[in-house]
Symmetry: C2
Subunit: 213 residues, 2 copies
DNA sequence: AGAATAGTGTCTCTCAGACATTATTTG
DNA sequence: CAAATAATGTCTGAGAGACACTATTCT
């Protein structure tokens, strides 16, 4: 029998780093980590399963979800025929601790040993996210509702893994027309920074040129 | 029970038009068209099922295949719980008539009425193909092993649905470095045209700027 | 010779990328 | 006033897009 499930690559910015949520069977002595997920119920859509997993794992109902790829090689899970429809999830803002027992956040670029083909899935998700960041506005999904331009730049840098020029970043992100200034500022050390928000009317896919080629 | 299957959007250039392969139950009086596909066997990978369907439908073993999206809404196929993993297939050159009974090529942009959500799937496949054509070399998959630049331009125009400037097209496609000239020419009416071929060492994804933004 | 198709070059304008200084606030 | 962070503008080079004529072959 073919078992159909949905697995998730849940990503979040925590302390400026891109982290991924992994689960382990608390029973076993050697920790074996895996992506969260669950079997698909008879009457659930794939999207609904992904959403339910997201809520179960993080307690948050806010999050961006996107279907990534479906993995169906007969040998990918030894002893069973499991087909996994994998979703990529981005959580807004620094998420709290995982709500699910055995769940923990890990550095997305240097995860522990993962079960099955989950390491390949994670790497693919990161590649796709980096790629997507270059020509869509999906990066905003990792931040709070309002944010400073520096925070936004840090988010992009965390995902892309490289430093970006401050002036060029601002010029491009502002000319893309997907964010707009608010009247609020974030204070702290140094000069206060203006807060921005996503524009409601911003198109998800930035039609124009890539943002970061 | 959840039924898992693979369906295909098979596209081919026929008489300069982009056409899609559809199947019908020859028994029924009112033709009801659908995308070709089949159930996933216990020991088959999804890719293998797609490849097998491609061969069964067209008799050709040459073809580009790429996983497109997995459709799993409980209501998409009335009375059954069917999850479809859909592959996009591009056939090289003008394909012959379909090998499968009930199969026929149709104008991809103006298909007949389709069963289930297959119309939405087809439209999504076309959108993705057009989008992908802008920044990858995937367009070559619709042509023979060697081709003239005019043929290549016609292929791009057929998919994109718009006319392209001859000089700009040539400049960009040549500077992309994915094709190379052969010593052969195609003769016919008018001046013979040089034949080109794909470069074996061409990267699938053109890293540089989009070809046709 | 005429019809048909192949093949080629330039200019302009926009945008990406590199780069350093001034402005505002807190302690 | 020192430390910290925010905010801003210019120059240069590459490439996209618009555009028209010459070259070669066949009948």
């Amino acid at each position: 029998m073919i078992e159909l499930r949905v697995d998730l690559v849940l990503l979040s910015l925590r302390a400026g780093r891109l982290e991924v949520l992994l689960e382990t069977d608390s029973g076993s002595s050697v920790p074996a980590w895996r992506l969260p997920g669950s079997a698909v119920g008879e009457r659930q859509s794939l999207e609904a399963v992904a959403q339910a997993c997201l809520v179960a794992a993080t307690g948050s109902t806010r999050g961006y979800l996107e279907q990534l790829y479906t993995y169906g090689d007969p040998a990918r899970v030894p002893g069973r025929r499991t087909v996994s429809c994998v979703y990529l999830g981005l959580l807004r803002g620094a998420s709290g601790e995982p709500k699910v027992p055995g769940g923990r956040w890990h550095d997305a670029s240097h995860p522990p040993r993962l079960l099955f083909d989950h390491r390949a899935i994670l790497d693919y998700a990161l590649t796709r996210l980096r790629y997507k960041l270059e020509y869509t506005a999906v990066g905003f999904e990792l931040l709070e509702a309002t944010f400073t331009l520096t925070e936004l730049q840090r988010a992009y840098e965390a995902v892309l893994g490289e430093a970006l020029d401050k002036r060029n970043f601002r010029r491009r992100i502002l000319s893309a027309g997907v964010i707009e200034p608010t009247r609020a500022f974030r204070t702290g050390e140094g000069r206060p920074a203006r807060l921005y928000r996503y524009r409601d009317d911003a198109v998800a896919e930035v039609k124009a040129r890539r943002l970061f080629p």
